[in-house]
Subunit: 313 residues, 3 copies
């Protein structure tokens, strides 16, 4: 991604290298779309006549729906293409898919893929603006943007905060994008979890590593829980769900170690009783539903910005 | 559902408790949409800027398509979410799904679910208006409304009629919604089928029970056949398809016991040669295709009414 | 299809019997849509208020997407119905599906089906205009039209050309539609491939048969490669992919036998290294991506023409 300060960008492949003066206006625009969503007054002509293709090589009803809604509310022609993992063979096939979508005069291409870098590869082959909707263990930039917008709405800033990201960080593109964004904006990030899921090598990203929740949550402004994929248990990286909750689940006692009124976040879908106690997920400190709402707004802002930058560039 | 006479309603969860002065205006509105569908003159702005989500936990191409068409013709942004039965765990997950769709600012939520009461549960958790598109063995209200509209168009009234509902009543939410509507409107309902599929306990619903087609069809104004699910045979509730047709299939001889020009109805899809003789399904007395047409019109009326009542309430 | 010269047509079931004065104006209209697609200036009201249903009994993301885009860009309400092969039983069921879609007031019905003649069968039962999107071994008319448009854009004519169609012709509805169109327009067609895939009986179609690429490609203006379905190998009709490429793959050496600057075409998706060398697929002579682009434009033209002819007829 071209990351010159203040310049429009043509793709959204990741947040690494993005600057505060690119991020803040995007969040401002998303904020205004959040209000328009509530009043059902979104202008229908922002993306009129534009084609948005949701190209999902991994299933994700939630993220796909969020992008689909964002595109439709702005008036785009939205096409869903779910590609069963099994029918994908080689990088070559991915490039042929890119060429096909390009020939169809696609304006916006939203891509989720199990391989890190797949959206970037596509971006080099298409005229469309590409949005990374999650690629392997790399990034999931719109998730971090929606997290940031949610934080900013509650705490008024993205700078000077202490954010604890807890759980399966090693396998989380959500964590990775959040680390880039939050450190860029001047906040401190702590990664918290067992050594199997939070290896010390992650310290290279400019973050603190903690293997005990009690240490990691102390005085945090934001506690961001990650979903524990069930396959982590079958592969032996963690013991049972019950054991995991006992040591790394977010409960009332642990949350009280954080700042008073610390925000509780989760990208969803939650495993209640595994990484988070159900009552905490539904408490006043939880902004989990607001994250979903800001998700649609952030995606509208991204689609809007990318389309404008293409056509005025 | 708030069922005060003449009042708008916020959800359509079932027809039990609905009053004639709620039902009749809805059918009038549907009638007008049926005409607009034929002339391709549906106003596109009735649901413009509104979000309709089709949340189907059970497959049903036919019903899903009917709601999708209804929403799109009125200008809504329509999103299909098919949730594989396997990925659904507990009621808790259903509530998290509700919370997510709520956060996305959904206006209309159409739900089909294998469990009775699931749409009502969702309705308590979302700001959207919920339409029950079939829940377990409970209700399928839009099916009964479209049946009613079809009957009214041909017989001019919904009162004072004798309607025979034949076949697998015990497992039919369609039958249940029809019983509520037809008895509310002042018609008599007869349930006809073998004791395994029409247990005598159903008499509590204020209907007559018959175990012989010859008795049940006598002088009926309407003969409504139900689909026999194939699993009823494998589970031993009925013998072979051939035996079933011999005793409970609708053929010419039996139909002649009903009133002259009695209407023949079926919610589809049909098992020709099992519950209904093919030539009867295609005869002049059959209004089966008109039921499908009225289905789209009824759903347009429901979506329209629910949206208006939300925003003027 | 009514094939009187110069007359509008109500369905597009195949190209057999279509006349040049039906084909040429359709390509002209498609050409203009290709330009509008590029400038994002397609008028949104051509199909406003019309319902297009994509009824696919066989999977085809590519063709389905192309029709979906075509319909949406022209403002239609587009509904996708994918019918799993397994749930389809008998011709009777297909007719019931037709009746249902008819009752829903469908204007345009795009059908792909494994059985030859299924779209024609549907066309006799519905008021909608039916477009054949591929039926068994019969025809795939929009593919041949997009091929023709691509050729015409490059060579200026569809008459007097020599077109070599190479590969699995016996199982190709694409080949069949192209043969009809190209011979109708006054070009010569050669079929090239092993006797198992290009049986001599095909000569009845008014084409030349060649079993050696070297003979078939000599002085050809257009080289059209077909996809080799993998099941042809498992069923023993061809040896390994490697052997196939050795004898029937398109490589540089063979392509040089054709006219200088002969066009290289492929309906996609390609098996690179099986029927076509990768570098040839990406060479300056390849118009494979342009075929995809013209695909959307041709489908827009077909949908437009069919709708107009229905409503002015």
């Amino acid at each position: 991604m071209a990351s010159q300060p203040g310049r429009p960008f043509r793709h959204l492949l990741g947040l690494e290298g993005m600057t505060p003066d690119q991020i803040e206006p995007l969040l401002d625009l998303a904020e205004s779309y959040a209000l328009l969503n509530r009043s059902r007054k979104v202008p229908r002509d922002v993306l009129r006549g534009r084609t948005l293709i949701n190209l999902f090589f991994e299933d994700s009803t939630r993220t796909r729906t969020s992008f689909e809604l964002a595109g439709k509310r702005l008036g785009a022609d939205v096409i869903n293409m779910s590609v069963a993992q099994s029918s994908v063979n080689k990088g070559e096939t991915l490039l042929d898919t890119a060429a096909t979508l390009n020939a169809m005069r696609t304006d916006l291409l939203v891509v989720r893929h199990a391989q890190s870098g797949a959206p970037a590869l596509l971006a080099r082959k298409v005229e469309a603006s590409v949005v990374n909707a999650g690629d392997g263990l790399h990034e999931h930039p719109t998730q971090a943007l929606l997290d940031a917008l949610t934080i900013r709405r509650h705490l008024g800033t993205l700078g000077g905060l202490t954010v604890a990201i807890c759980g399966d960080v090693a396998h989380s593109r959500v964590a990775r994008s959040n680390i880039h964004l939050l450190t860029t904006m001047g906040s401190s990030v702590r990664l918290v979890g067992p050594p199997t899921l939070v290896p010390s090598g992650l310290g290279e990203l400019g973050v603190d590593i903690h293997h005990r929740m009690e240490d990691g949550l102390k005085d945090a402004d934001v506690v961001m829980m990650l979903r524990l994929q069930r396959e982590r248990m079958s592969s032996g990286l963690v013991p049972s769900a019950r054991e995991y909750f006992r040591f790394f689940g977010l409960d009332r006692r642990r949350l009280e170690l954080a700042r008073k009124n610390a925000l509780v976040m989760h990208p969803g879908p939650m495993n209640r009783g595994v990484e988070i106690e159900s009552s905490i997920a539904d408490s006043d400190q939880s902004v989990i539903q607001e994250q979903v709402e800001m998700g649609v707004a952030v995606r509208m802002a991204v689609l809007d910005r990318l389309t404008r930058s293409r056509h005025t560039a």
